[in-house]
């Protein structure tokens, strides 16, 4: 609720022209106690005498770029490690694929002989010789010869005390 009269009074007050302004300052001459003066001035003196510590907010000035750099380096390292690990797995898988595909494709002659010898060593020699004799008895000479050659490759030192197949 403002009236023109009050507005004028306010403007006068704002221009520091009224008696109220002067009287108010006369009415209120409150001052801080002397003990407060001593406390504040002592604190101001101590602040100058105290060694300047490193305020926390100053730490953030270098901590922020340091943190960003460390994060970047760590990220790049992790990514590179993961990529290298991925490469190893990929090459390992392709090599394994090659090994698994080789027998199905075309084993070399030496490799095939070695594999056959390994299989042959798992057969009982006496039974194997009996099987060869049965082949010969049945007139399957060629097959009997292949089996005999395989038997000899697998058991070159074997001596059959009964008789030659």
């Amino acid at each position: 609720m403002s009236t023109p009269e009050r507005d004028e009074e306010l403007e006068a007050y704002l221009e520091r022209r009224t008696q109220l302004q002067r009287r108010l300052s006369e009415l209120d001459d409150l001052e801080p106690p002397a003990e407060l003066d001593h406390l504040v001035l002592a604190r101001a003196r101590e602040a100058l005498e105290a060694p300047q510590g490193l305020p926390f907010y100053r730490g953030t000035r270098w901590a922020l770029p340091f943190t960003l750099t460390a994060t970047l380096v760590l990220t790049v390292t992790v990514v590179m490690s993961l990529r290298a690990l991925h490469d190893v797995h990929t090459s390992g898988a392709s090599a394994a694929g090659a090994f698994s595909a080789a027998p199905a494709a075309a084993p070399s002659g030496a490799e095939a002989a070695r594999m056959r010898a390994n299989d042959a060593r798992e057969r009982d020699p006496a039974e194997w010789l009996a099987h060869i004799r049965e082949l010969r008895a049945a007139g399957k000479e060629d097959e009997a010869q292949r089996e005999w050659a395989a038997f000899r490759a697998a058991y070159p030192e074997y001596r059959d005390h009964t008789a030659s197949p």
């Binding site: 403002s2 009050r6 507005d7 009074e9 306010l10 006068a12 007050y13 704002l14 022209r17 009224t18 008696q19 109220l20 002067r22 009287r23 108010l24 300052s25 009415l27 209120d28 001459d29 409150l30 001052e31 801080p32 106690p33 407060l36 003066d37 406390l39 504040v40 001035l41 604190r43 101001a44 003196r45 602040a47 100058l48 300047q52």
Partner: protein, 208 residues
């Protein structure tokens, strides 16, 4: 509170920079200039001498702590009373109370000395004491926002625009609050003024 190397017209901001550079005398001069106004603002705002004393120390502690980062972009008064205003707000938040007139303001009144001129007669001193009491009562009865604007304007010496900035309101709002505050204070003082030969009337001073 000697300030040997400080001139009377030296700018507050310059004094603050000198204090930040290690000159205690600059702070002493700065303190001498603003101690009374700041204390009255806090004491009249909180109406509790203990709280006013605590906040007074807190304000100056913040000034001291911010000396290194202080930049004289605005008036030192604005810087100082902005801190004081914020300290009051923080105090009310901590206390979880709205600033209300105290039920008994005798604590603050008892801590003060009513200074009537010694040469005056006892009846004049009594009138003066009565006027002071009425003024304080009227001030305490103001809504917090009006009292804040009035005290900031009265004690800081800042312009109304600067007071509005500190309190976070528009200039017109600050002006309105000040107008209401003045009207209430004038109403409280008017009867006494009439009784005292109209010395306290809200009229312009006669041209001299």
């Amino acid at each position: 509170m000697a300030a040997d190397r400080v001139t009377a017209d030296e700018d507050d901001g310059q004094l603050m920079l000198r204090y930040a550079a290690g000159e205690l005398c600059a702070f002493e001069a700065l303190y001498a200039r603003h101690r009374a106004g700041l204390y009255r603002y806090l004491a009249r705002h909180t109406r509790d001498p203990e709280v006013a004393n605590d906040l007074f120390q807190e304000v100056w502690s913040r000034v001291i702590a911010h000396r290194a980062s202080y930049e004289p972009r605005a008036k030192f008064r604005t810087f100082l009373f902005r801190i004081a205003h914020n300290c009051c707000i923080d105090h009310y938040r901590r206390a979880r109370v709205r600033p209300q007139p105290p039920a008994d303001s005798s604590a603050l009144e008892a801590s003060e000395t009513l200074r009537a001129p010694d040469a005056e007669r006892p009846d004049s001193r009594a009138e003066h004491a009565q006027l002071v009491a009425r003024y304080r009562e009227a001030l305490a009865s103001l809504p917090a926002a009006q009292r804040d604007v009035f005290l900031l304007y009265e004690q800081s010496g800042l312009s109304l625009e600067e007071v509005a900035t500190i309190t976070g309101v528009g200039t017109e709002t600050a002006k309105s609050r000040l107008r209401y505050a003045l009207a209430k204070l004038r109403g409280a003082l008017a009867p006494q003024a009439a009784a005292q030969d109209a010395r306290f009337a809200l009229s312009e001073e006669p041209p001299t």
